[in-house]
């Protein structure tokens, strides 16, 4: 699916720009985006180092294991194929906690750590495992308690009540989390035992 979506975005973009006689836009956008990708990755180096360093302390101090033990009923249901004392569980939980608290820049490093650990359990190395798909589904459809960025924007725009959107955001993200979990169960069944 990702191959098709990727190709369609390129083909549609080039076709639309070509028909409108603005083909130069394509070149400009492509060059700019490739530069932006490298800048994003560079910014990530520092963030990764900071949060992975803290994660290591939390792991050695036993904080992550505490969290993992408390959440075991949930993780056993969502990730039945991962051994419950595996480091992947701790990293997944740290990532979801960061998402829930609206700490976007901490979520990515924890998430990448979780992917590394999940990859250790992957027999194929090139194809995603069901646990990885579940994790990514939870990540994109995660309940969010503090949408801090948007509250800031609303406050800056002169809103009389910037936080009025917090309740609806919690509800909407709760629903999308339920949809992600239900969808994951369905896909797991559809894909059956294949991997």
């Amino acid at each position: 699916m990702v191959n098709l979506v990727w190709l369609l975005m390129l083909v549609a973009g080039i076709a639309v720009a070509g028909i409108q006689g603005r083909i130069a836009v394509v070149t400009e956008a492509a060059l700019e985006a490739s530069q932006m990708a490298v800048n994003l990755a560079l910014e990530l180096i520092g963030l990764m180092a900071l949060w992975l360093g803290l994660l290591k302390i939390a792991e050695e101090a036993g904080l992550v294991a505490l969290l993992a033990r408390a959440m075991r009923p949930v993780t056993r249901y969502l990730f039945p194929e991962i051994p419950q004392d595996h480091p992947a569980i701790g990293a997944i939980l740290m990532n979801l906690s960061a998402n829930i608290l609206g700490l976007g820049n901490a979520a990515t490093p924890f998430g990448l750590k979780a992917m590394q650990e999940l990859q250790r359990l992957n027999p194929s190395q090139e194809e995603a495992t069901p646990a990885m798909c579940t994790f990514l589904g939870l990540n994109t459809g995660c309940i969010i308690l503090i949408p801090a960025t948007i509250i800031g924007i609303r406050a800056a725009a002169g809103s009389t009540d910037p936080t009025v959107v917090v309740g609806p955001t919690i509800m909407a993200t709760g629903i999308s989390m339920i949809a992600a979990v239900a969808g994951d169960r369905l896909f797991r069944r559809l894909y059956g035992r294949r991997g």
Partner: protein, 178 residues
């Protein structure tokens, strides 16, 4: 209320930076040395993501800059108005899973144009806060470990996006009218 929530979110990271190393130290851990050994990994992972990120951002950039994305929005408009989704927020709905920065720009523009306390302004706020940038998450997460075949992860991410979009519209209509 606003101040309380903003203050909590201002304190969140300093609190983690204070709590984790202090707790570790009390548990007898050589906190600085452990921190550095954990941090080592950051560089390697970030570099590994670059090819994946270039591929995805180029496709999204071309799609967006060419005007194809706006065309898709215009094409989907009648379809979505049946579902009760106002046309004004459609560009945001399409942008949200593709580009985090782009979506934030669109949301901020909607909020300032219609006013933060208007129905559209509130709906745009909830939509922006409700979902993650699915394509970015997939690209970066899978890229960091070299996974090329995503199986059903993209479909699942988009299901989560669509359900949070629909939920945002329904909840905002019920709570804010409009």
């Amino acid at each position: 209320m606003t101040e309380v929530i903003l203050e909590i979110s201002r304190w969140a990271i300093p609190a983690v930076l204070l709590f984790v190393p202090t707790y570790g130290y009390l548990k007898g851990i050589r906190v600085y040395e452990v921190f550095v050994s954990g941090a080592e990994d950051g560089f390697r992972v970030a570099v590994k993501i670059i090819p994946f990120l270039v591929g995805m951002l180029v496709a999204i950039g071309v799609f967006r800059a060419s005007g194809a994305m706006d065309l898709l929005a215009r094409f989907l408009d009648p379809l979505l108005s049946v579902a009760g989704i106002p046309g004004e927020v459609l560009p945001l709905a399409i942008m949200r899973p593709l580009s985090g920065g782009g979506a934030l720009g669109v949301a901020a523009e909607l909020i300032s144009h219609y006013g933060p306390d208007s129905f559209i302004g509130r709906l745009a706020s909830v939509m922006q806060g409700s979902t993650d940038t699915t394509f970015y998450v997939l690209t970066v997460y899978f890229g960091s470990v070299g996974i090329r075949r995503y199986r059903y992860a993209l479909a699942l991410g988009l299901i989560a996006d669509i359900s949070s979009l629909l939920a945002a519209v329904v909840i905002c209509r019920a709570m804010f009218g409009g």
